[in-house]
Amino acid sequence: MAYGASTTIDQSGGSNSKQKLKSKRVLGSPFKSPGIKLTESSTVTKDDTLKSPTPPTRTNTNTTDSETSSIHDARAVPNSVPMETSSSLNQTQSSNHASSNQKQIITCPICNEEMVSLYQLNQHIDDTHSSDSNTSAEIKRISPKKKSIKMDLFDNNKGFSLSDVSESSVTPPPQTISRNGNNNSPAHHIQHHHSGPKSRITRSHWKQQSTLTTSSICSFPTCNKTLNIKNGITNCRKCGLLFCNEHSAYKIKLIMPLDGGNLPIYDSTGEGTWCKSCQTCYYDKPDLKQGTAAWSRDLTSQFKQKRQESSDESSLNRNKIQKRFIKLTNYLAESNTKKSTQSFVSAAVADWWKNGTSNRGGVSNIDEAEKEISGLDNWQDDTGISNCSICFVKFSLLLRKHHCRLCGKIVCDDPYGYRKSCSIVVPLSNLLQRLSNLNYSKYVKSNWETTLNDENLKFRCCVDCKNALLYDWKLNHVSTNSDEELIFNTYELKLIQKHQIEILLQKYEQLVRANNNVEEEIKVGNKLVIQLKEFEQSTIQFRDKYFNVEDGKLNVKIVYETYKRLIMNIHQTFVIFLQDSIIQYKQLNDIHRDREEAKLKEVEQKKQEQVPSLSKKQIRELREQLMVMNEQKFMVESLIQEYTKARRFDELQALIENKKELAEVIDKLELQLGEFGF
C-alpha cells in the first residue's frame, strides 16, 4: 500500500502530510510535532493539548477542519475516534446516494440526457459536467461510483497482466468521493492537488466511446482496427484516446501535476500510479525518448579552482626562492673574491679553517651565512631526519644527507631516486645565464663576466627549488626545431585549406540538394574544384618533400627520421581527406549533371514532339507491321494457354517473355501511328 511505503515525510509538505504526520507522531515523541494544526485521535490529543501551547479552542476548529478533509481520505485512516464519526457520516452520505441512485439511473440528472449504462453515465458526467460544482451533480456522480470501480477491475481483466492489480489497490473506491468532494470549495481543491499520491488520475480528458451505432477505430496511426469487445476498447490514461488491445498493452506511471494542471503527467517517483497507456505515450516517456544517455562529468571548473589555490601558493614560494637565490649569489660572488685575494697568502690555511665550505659541497661546518639565506628556522636539523624529504629514501652510509641551500631541507642526491637526483650541485653560471635580469647586488652586476665564468661558484640545490627558479625561464624559452617548425607550418596551412574545402563542400551540398540557384551552384562547384586541386597539389608537394619512393612504397626521408610517425600520419590524414572529399564532390556533381542532362533532354523532347506528319506510304507500312505483330501476339497467347493446360511450364516462361516484347513493339507502333491507328 502506498501509505506504508511513504515513510519519508516532508514536514512542510502541506496539508496532505497530516495523515503522515500523525502516523509519525504515534510512533515517535509528541514533542517533535510542529505543535499546531495537529488533530489527533482522542487519546493522543489529550496528551497533546496538555503540552501544546496552542489554545484549545483553536485545536477544536482545526479538528473540524481536518474532519471534513479526512472524509476524503477515509480509507487511509484506521479506526481512530474522530474518524469513526467521519466514516459514519460518510456512510450516511453514501446511503443517501444509493437511495437517490435507484430512482434515476438512466438519465443524467443535469442535462437529462438518457444513458445506456451506468458506466456511460459516469463518463458523461466526467466529460460534460466535470467543472460543475453543483451539489446535485455531486450526489449523482457519487452514485455510479461503485460501478466505475467495477469497470476498473474489468479493465484489468482485459488482457492486462496481474501486476496491474496495484492500480486498483492504490486508488481504491473512496477516491471517487474525495474527488467529488474536492470540487466543493477552493480550499479543498488545493488540498486535492497537494495530496499528490492520493489524487486519482483524471478521466476528464478521455475520449468517449462511440455509441452503439457508430464504432470508433483504434487511434494508433497505422492500426485502423475497429474497436469492439474482441479487439478491445481502452482509453490511454495519458492522452485519453481510444485504442485496441494491442496498442494499449503498455504500462506507465502517471501522476496528477502538483501545480494544478488538469492532465496527468509522467511520474518517476513512488507516488504515481501504474496506468494503461497507448504505444505512443509509452515511447514518449522521457527516458525512452532520450534513449541512451551517455554521461560524462566536466570537472574543469573544480579543477581550475584547485589549481588556482595551489598556483597562488607556488608563486609565493617561487618569489621566496628567487629572493634567496639573489642573496646567495651575492654572498657567493663576494666571498669568493675575498677568498681569492687571501689565497695568495693562506689559501690552504683558510681552506683548512673552513674545512670545506659550501663550494666544496662539504657535509659539515656549513657557513652560518649560508644557513641564514634560507632562514635559520627553515634549515632542517640533521638529527631528526632520516629520510629524504622529496623521495623519502632512507639515508645511509652511502646515501648522505644534503641541505638544499635555498629551502634548507634535507634531501638526498641518489641518482636513482624517485625523481632522479633530488638534489644536485648546480654551477652558478648556468643559472645566472638564464636568470640575467634579476635584481642582483651592485657588486655582482659589476663583476658579471667574472662571476659568470668562474667555475668554482656552485651550490647545492634541490630539484623543487631548481624548478621554481627556472619557472619563468621555462615558460618563455621554448626550444624549437626548424624542421618541426616547417612541418607544422605546412600542416597548419593545409588545415586551413582543409577547413575551407569542408565549408565549400557543405555549401555545395546544400545548394545541390536545394536546387534553386543554379548559377551559385556552378560557381561554388568551380571554386571547390580549384580548392581541391590546390589541396592535391600541396599534398603532392608534401609527399615529395618528406618521402622517398622505394619499390612503390613511401618511406620517410632519413633526415626526418625523428618525426617519422608524425609525417606519416599527417600525410595519411590528407590523403584520406582528399579521397573522401573528392568522392563526395563527385557524387554531388553527378546529381548536378544528371539534372542538367535531364533539362537538355527535355528541351530536345520538346523539339521532337513536333513530329512531321506521316506520309500515306509510311502509314500503310506501319499499319501492316502492326497487324503482323497483333497476329503474332494472338498466336503466342493461344500457345500460352495450350502450354498451361499441358503443364509445360519450363517453356511457358519464354513464351511469356515473348508476349511482353511483342506488346512493347505494338505499343511503340501505335504511338508512331498516333491518330492514324486503327
Partner: protein
C-alpha cells in the same frame, strides 16, 4: 533503446575528439596527440578506427608510460585519456612538470577522487590543462549489447579483494555511462556475487554523496535492474557447440578484442563498420551461407555492370562513374574476402571435428529429445569413433552426466575414453576427475533447474509456449528456430529473464529457472520509488555474468529484445567464453578443489619436517 553501448562510444568519441564549436580550444591549433595508458588503449582500439582518429586530426598516439621519450611539440594539443590508476596519474604528473605539448585536455574513463584531482592541480604548474572531464567507460564494448570488464588481472582462483573492487568499479562506470541507478539482483548462493553486489551497493550509496548517482533515473518511471549471475550456476551453455556466426567464430577460431586471426592474418569484426557482419552475426549456419551467397552475387552484379569488358562499348561517362565507385568496390571485395576466409575456416573445422553429428547429439542429450537408451547407444557410437577428438567426447560425456545421473554409464564411458584404441590421446587425469566431479561441483544448481523444468518433453513444450506467449509480437522467428535441430538448447538465462520480466506468471507452479534472486536497493532508488520498488515491472536490465559470458547468450538477449521491444537488455561478463576456455577454467576448478583436499597434508608434513630440522 535506453541501453545502447555503441551510442555510448559514439558520444564519447564526440567528447574526446571533436572540438566544440565556438570555444577557444578549437580556435587554436586543431591537431592533437592522443595519450593513452594500457587500459584505455584497448578501449579506444575497440571502439574507433585509426582512420576515424586521423579524420579528426589526431596525428600521433602515445602511451603515457613513456612520457620521457616524447618529442617536444608545442604546436600540438594533447588529449589525455587514461584510467585513474596510481601509475597513470603519476606519469601524468611527471608529464605536467615538464610539458611537451601546448595544452592538455584530460579525460578519465572512470570516477576520479578529490585527492587525485588535487594532486594533478598541484602538478599543473604551467597551467597547460584546459579541460578535465570524467567519461565513464571502464569496460570494453564488444557489440552494442555486449560488454566485458576491462580487467587484466585474471582471477580464476578464489577471492581476490582487489579484483572484486576493480570489477565493481567497471560496473559502476557502466552504470554511470548509461545514466542508470539500478536495483541489484544477484544469485544469493554465490559468495563472489554477494561480495560484488555489496561492493556495488556501497559504491552507489557512497558516491551518492558526490551527487554522481543523483537524478540518474529522473524521467524513468521504473528503476533499471542490474542482474548479477554466476557462470557456475549454468556451466552447460558454454559447453554446447554454437551454430550462429559470431559464436562460431569464437568457438572455432577465437575472437580477441573483436579481432580474429585466420591464417596469421588479423581480421577485425566490427558491427559498426562492417554491415555484412552486423546483419549476419546472429544467423545460424545455414542462413549464414545463404546470406553470404547473396552478398557475393550482389557484388558480382555490381562489378559486372561496370567491369572493364563491358566498358568498351560504353561511353566515357560510365568509366568515370566506375572509377569514382572503385574505392567502394575495393572495400566490398576485401570485406567479402574476409568473411569468405572466416567461413571456410569454420567450415573446415566443423567437418574436421565431425561437428554435425556431435552438435546434434549435444542438443539431443541436453534437451532430451530422444529416450535415454537411444541417446546412450548414439553416444557410445561416437565414443568408439577414433576420429572424434577427446575434448568433444569429454563434453558429450559431461552433458550426459548432467542429464542422466547414471554412474554406471559414466564409468563405462570413462573406460572408453581411457582406451587408446578408441580415443586417440586418452583423457588426462584432470579431465577424468572433471567428469567424476562435474555433477558434484555444480550438482545442486543443475538438478534443481534443469530436471524440474525438463524432465519430460512436455515440460520443454510448456516452456516454449511461455517463451512465445511472452514475446508475442512476432514469434514466427522463434518457431522457425525451434525447428532447427541444432538450436534446440536455450540457455538458462532465458528462464531467469522471463521470471524477472513476468514475475507473477510462474510463481505458483513450475518455476523455470529455479533461482530465487536476492535484491539490494540503493538508498537513492528507495527514496525515489519507495521501498517495495523491486516488485514493480522492469524495463531496463543490465546482465553481468561473473565467470564469463558467451556470444550465444548475447544472441539470446538480442532476440529477446527484438521480440519484446518494451524490454531493453544488455549483457556482459568478465570474459567471453568458448567451450575450450570454459573447459580450461573447469580444469583449474577441479585441480583447485582436489589440491585443496591434499594440500593440507603436505603443509602439515612440511611443518613437521621444519620442526624436526629445528
Amino acid at each position: 533503446m535506453t541501453l545502447n553501448l555503441s551510442k555510448v562510444s559514439e558520444t564519447y568519441f564526440q567528447k574526446l575528439f571533436v572540438p566544440k564549436r565556438g570555444t577557444d580550444i578549437s580556435a587554436e591549433a586543431k591537431s592533437s596527440v592522443l595519450v593513452l595508458d594500457q587500459f584505455t588503449t584497448s578501449i579506444i582500439s575497440m571502439c574507433y578506427t585509426q582512420t576515424q582518429l586521423l579524420q579528426n586530426n589526431i596525428i600521433l598516439i602515445e602511451l603515457i608510460d613513456n612520457t620521457r621519450s616524447f618529442n617536444n611539440m608545442k604546436h600540438l594539443n594533447c588529449v589525455v585519456y587514461i584510467k585513474p590508476t596510481k601509475e597513470s596519474i603519476q606519469s601524468l604528473v611527471n608529464e605536467l612538470s615538464n610539458p611537451h605539448f601546448k595544452s592538455y585536455q584530460l579525460f578519465f574513463n572512470n570516477t576520479i577522487n578529490k585527492s587525485q584531482l588535487e594532486r594533478i592541480a598541484e602538478a599543473d604548474e604551467f597551467e597547460v590543462i584546459n579541460q578535465v572531464v570524467e567519461l565513464f567507460q571502464d569496460y570494453l564494448i564488444i557489440n552494442k549489447n555486449l560488454f566485458t570488464t576491462n580487467n587484466t588481472i585474471n582471477t580464476t582462483n578464489n577471492i581476490n579483494n582487489n579484483a572484486i573492487i576493480e570489477e565493481s568499479n567497471s560496473l559502476i562506470s557502466l552504470l554511470l555511462s548509461l545514466k542508470k541507478c539500478p536495483i541489484i539482483k544477484y544469485e544469493p548462493n554465490s559468495i563472489e556475487l554477494k561480495r560484488l553486489s555489496s561492493e556495488i551497493l556501497y559504491n552507489i550509496n557512497s558516491n551518492s554523496n558526490n551527487n554522481l548517482f543523483d537524478d540518474l533515473n529522473k524521467g524513468s518511471d521504473r528503476p533499471p535492474v542490474l542482474l548479477l549471475l554466476d557462470r557456475k550456476s549454468d556451466p552447460i551453455t558454454p559447453l554446447i557447440s554454437p551454430w550462429t556466426y559470431q559464436s562460431m567464430i569464437h568457438e572455432y577460431i577465437g575472437i580477441k578484442k573483436n579481432i580474429t586471426e585466420v591464417s596469421s592474418e588479423q581480421l577485425i569484426l566490427d558491427e559498426i563498420q562492417d554491415k555484412f557482419f552486423l546483419e549476419s552475426m546472429y544467423l545460424n549456419y545455414g542462413d549464414l551461407t545463404d546470406k553470404f551467397q547473396r552478398y557475393v552475387e550482389h557484388y558480382k552484379k555490381e562489378t559486372k555492370q561496370t567491369s572493364i569488358e563491358n566498358l568498351q562499348t560504353q561511353n566515357l561517362n560510365d568509366l568515370k562513374k566506375m572509377l569514382t565507385k572503385f574505392p567502394e568496390f575495393k572495400k566490398l571485395s576485401s570485406n567479402i574476402l574476409k568473411h569468405l576466409n572466416i567461413i571456410t575456416e569454420i567450415d573446415k573445422e566443423i567437418t574436421n571435428q565431425n561437428m554435425w553429428d556431435i552438435g546434434e547429439l549435444q542438443q539431443t542429450i541436453i534437451c532430451e529429445l530422444d529416450n535415454q537408451q537411444t541417446i546412450k547407444t548414439r553416444l557410445i557410437d561416437l565414443l568408439d569413433n577414433l576420429k572424434v577428438s577427446t575434448i568433444n567426447k569429454v563434453k558429450l560425456v559431461l552433458l550426459y552426466s548432467v542429464r542422466f545421473h547414471n554412474t554406471n554409464d559414466i564409468s563405462l564411458f570413462t573406460a572408453k575414453l581411457n582406451d587408446p584404441s578408441k580415443t586417440s590421446p586418452i583423457i588426462t587425469v584432470t579431465q577424468n576427475s572433471l567428469i567424476k566431479k562435474f555433477n558434484a561441483l555444480f550438482n545442486s544448481k543443475i538438478t534443481t533447474s534443469q530436471i524440474s523444468g525438463d524432465n519430460n518433453n512436455l515440460g520443454i513444450f510448456n516452456k516454449k509456449i511461455n517463451f512465445t506467449s511472452l514475446f508475442n509480437n512476432n514469434n514466427n522467428n522463434n518457431n522457425q528456430r525451434n525447428d532447427n535441430v541444432y538450436l534446440q538448447y536455450v540457455p538458462k538465462l532465458n528462464d531467469i529473464l522471463i521470471d524477472l520480466i513476468n514475475p507473477n506468471q510462474d510463481n505458483n507452479h513450475n518455476n523455470g529457472a529455479g533461482i530465487t534472486l536476492s535484491t539490494l536497493v540503493p538508498d537513492i532508488v528507495a527514496n525515489q520509488y519507495g521501498r517495495n520498488v523491486q516488485h514493480e515491472p522492469v524495463q531496463d536490465i543490465i546482465i553481468y555474468i561473473k565467470g564469463g559470458v558467451t556470444y550465444e547468450e548475447a544472441r539470446l538477449i538480442h532476440e529477446l529484445s527484438i521480440s519484446n521491444k518494451k524490454i531493453n537488455l544488455i549483457i556482459g561478463g568478465d570474459s567471453i567464453l568458448n567451450s575450450s576456455s570454459w573447459l580450461n577454467n573447469l580444469y583449474d576448478l577441479v585441480n583447485d578443489s582436489s589440491t585443496s583436499d591434499i594440500t593440507s597434508d603436505p603443509a602439515e608434513e612440511r611443518r613437521k619436517q621444519l620442526r624436526d630440522l629445528l
